[in-house]
Amino acid sequence: MSTEGQYREEAVKGEPVIKVKDLKKSFGEQHVLKGLTFDLIKGENLIVLGKSGSGKSVLIKCIVQLMTADEGTINVLGNEVGNLRAKELAELRKKIGFLFQSGALYDSMTVKENLEFPLRRIKKGISEKDIKDKTMEALEAVGLASALNKMPSQLSGGMRKRIALARTIILDPSIILYDEPTTGLDPITSQEISALINEIRNKYHTSSLIITHDMPCARAVADRALLLKEGEIYAQGTMQSIQQIEDPWVQLFFKD
């Protein structure tokens, strides 16, 4: 089987911002990713589906070099991430937003400081007013303007997730990697987040890789989808075309 998947729609149009080729990653004897090949096209929302433990989080961590791939290449905005030096990697990371599955808020800082932390360090010379405006804007986007001065420990799980999302989008990155943005949220908030993801894409022409188990969210935001099975791509294509694949395993994902 090719590393591009058994079910694959031809002719993905547009300029790729991330090109993953034959990506392999193992932890000891456990082969998590066994060779993935796909592109993320500029301006698209690409959904990654797959069972729990199928290596979705590992995949996006490899893209930002939090983990190094064993084999294969990852090209982000024209850079082979494996060959970058620390400085170059830092520069590249400034253009990538990363939402952790766990949120990963800094728990020694307030919500405000959490949001300002990347802002002050990456956008050098930004004015205090801009910092304040951007912080409020991001918080309002996730509907949590009231949480400004709270500590992460005072927030609920869903709220923490939304703050983490605010921290991710505050820098207007050109690529965003979302690890389960709506998991653990109620249907209404989840819908709002899906709308937000679309809005960000439409406004800034952001390219996003979105890991999710939440089918309504996937349907709302997906331009294309990628289905992982046992460390390989099982299917890729538009949501519609994947939903129509007559494969019992694929159908299990779309059964509501």
Binding site: K61, F98, F100, A104, S108
Partner: protein, 279 residues
Amino acid sequence: MKNFTPISKVKNIATEGSVLLSERTIARAEDAKTFFTRAGNMTLFILQTLRQFFSFPFEFKEFLKQCYEIGNRSLPLVAITGAIMGLVLTIQSRPILNDFGAESMLPQMVAVSLIREIGPVITALICAGKIGSGIGAELGSMKVTEQIEAMEVSAVNPMKYLVVTRVLAATLMIPVLVLFADALGMVGSWIGVNIKTELNIALFFSRAFSSVDFIDFIPAFIKSFFFGLVIGLVGCYKGYNAGKGTESVGIAANSAVVLSSLLIIIVDLIVVQITDLMI
């Protein structure tokens, strides 16, 4: 002839024995290997920290915050310990000096032992427990909950933001805490002297420092810097390299205390040897 052990059984025991022996040898070799890997990792960590020391910009605000955390938060503990050490040392030494008819030497004796050895070492050990475990647990939990990774992806160097600031703060604050402990130790000692005899504080201090030269302070002071460096580095190293899962936080904190305490004693030995040769 009863209970004759068959040859095959003897053979079995022999092979089992040799297998066990070779397994143990392999285990020893593995132990040695992990020891050297760890030592190598730690050296690498230290080198990385050093490199970040000299790279711009310095996280000054975080550094000040850490100085406050490390210095201010440990002050009461160090004060109480220092005072009690001085008091106890005085009470314990009195009978011996009495036997030699040198009770009036009590302030000098306490001053020398407190400033040269007991002040720095006890303070450092206490701080290894308080500060070392604190840093280990803090960075450990940040590691486990992906906060360190979150820093990395937002293009902030966690070595610089978290490690350099803490190591530097510990290196500068421990000597201050040691001085503080020394001072309170002397006050404790004065109280100890006054339990049995009456000696006013001015006279006590002039006697105490009659035998303590400036040169006595220097090795002790230098030593405290190294103690601070050890506490900061070990705490950060253990926290930064914590494993996965919440139990790793406890392990990181615990091993930070154990390793830094041990290293403090070893550094003490080395510094004493070196200064002994020099003076």
